[in-house]
């Protein structure tokens, strides 16, 4: 018979695993999207900048997926989780699987995400689990730079030419519906917040909004209205974008299992 405290520990380990997957998948999918820019960005310097941000996100993802695999205890590792899971097993935010389209669209997506990650990591530093606290403290410095980059470009293009302004507003309008999920807690978020593992997402919404509105103002962009329909990537509900992304990302490991560089 299992004692009460053993059940509790097992439950908390499962919450940690699910929370690590949620954050790790989100960083991984966005990193893959940013990697698609390599060789295609409008300038060599932006090519490097986007790749650098992607690499930071890969670092976060490796840390989190390794932890998730360790907590799972089934002998899988970070690579198994990244390359051998199906779309329906990914818990990333819907926002990050959105295709790049053009540079401006990528910047809007990045800015909305960076603003959220900043708020999250500032609070996750105080997680009761030192593994999450450590990750957040390290990643916060990276995220500060990502936000500096995406904010700079958002303002530059939003408050740029007539065409750049129109296109940035168009991207913002198109992506806005996917931002509700950033601060809307999933069951995993709720459970993680309840045991002190993660911040209560409701506390993020106000500061995320304030940060975003400040920059949108500067960029002369209009804040779109919130919509009633919500997307649920964190609850494993994805569209076709994620399937295509994973097909490209996973094909080597799927075709040649265990292959190495």
């Amino acid at each position: 018979m299992t004692s009460g405290s053993a059940v509790l520990i097992e439950a908390s380990s499962d919450i940690k695993r699910r929370y690590a997957l949620q954050l790790g998948d989100t960083s991984l999918i966005l990193a893959q999207r940013l990697g698609e820019w390599i060789g295609h960005a409008p300038a060599l310097e932006e090519d490097l900048a986007l790749a650098n941000i992607g690499l930071d996100l890969i670092g976060q993802s490796r840390y989190l997926l390794s932890y998730a695999a360790e907590l799972e205890g089934r002998g899988r590792d970070e690579d198994d989780l990244a390359f051998l899971r199906d779309p329906a097993d990914f818990a990333n935010l819907t926002l990050v699987e959105e295709p790049n389209l053009d540079f401006g669209h990528t910047i809007v997506r990045q800015f909305l995400f960076d603003a959220w990650q900043l708020e999250l990591f500032e609070r996750l530093q105080y997680s009761c689990d030192p593994r999450f606290a450590e990750l957040a403290a390290k990643a916060l410095k990276e995220t500060l730079y990502h936000a500096r980059f995406s904010t700079g470009w958002l303002v530059r293009l939003g408050d740029g030419t007539e065409e750049s302004h129109r296109r940035m507003q168009g991207s913002l309008d198109a992506l806005w519906k996917l931002t509700h999920e950033l601060c809307a807690p999933s069951d995993t978020d709720r459970a993680a917040a309840a045991c002190g593992l993660a911040p209560d997402l409701a506390t993020l919404r106000g500061s995320w909004n304030a940060r975003v509105e400040r920059v949108l103002n500067e960029a002369t962009l209009r804040r779109p209205v919130d919509v009633a329909y919500h997307w649920h990537g964190k609850r494993f509900q994805h569209g076709e974008h994620l399937s295509r992304l994973l097909a490209e990302m996973q094909i080597m490991q799927r075709s040649y299992p265990g292959s190495q560089w």
């Binding site: 409008p42 300038a43 060599l44 310097e45 490097l48 900048a49 650098n52 500096r148 700079g152 530059r156």
Partner: protein, 96 residues
């Protein structure tokens, strides 16, 4: 890369460690000073090459004219006594 060719060129100087001087490492294109720092950071400090960055518009640099190299540099050639090789350097002095 049309946008790129319209951006002005900047020269980049990186200080590798505190106490060392900034060294010229290359150049980048950027629309303004702020972007120049970011591009220099992303291009030249990815492998921990630096702790400080200077950027300057290449157009702001005044360079010597190669045609005047003779007048500028030749006269120093036969003045070996200007090299500090005629002094005994004490062993204790390390960084001369």
């Amino acid at each position: 890369m049309t946008a790129h060719s319209q951006w002005p060129l900047y020269e980049v100087f990186i200080r590798a460690r505190s106490g060392l001087e900034h060294k010229h490492v290359g150049s980048i294109h950027a629309a303004d000073d702020r972007m120049a720092i970011e591009h220099a950071r992303d291009t030249y400090t990815r492998r921990q090459e630096g702790v400080s960055i200077w950027v300057v518009r290449s157009s702001q640099i005044t360079a010597s004219d190669p045609a005047e190299a003779g007048a500028l540099f030749e006269p120093a050639k036969d003045k070996v006594y200007r090299h500090p090789t005629f002094y005994e350097i004490p062993d204790e002095v390390k960084n001369l």
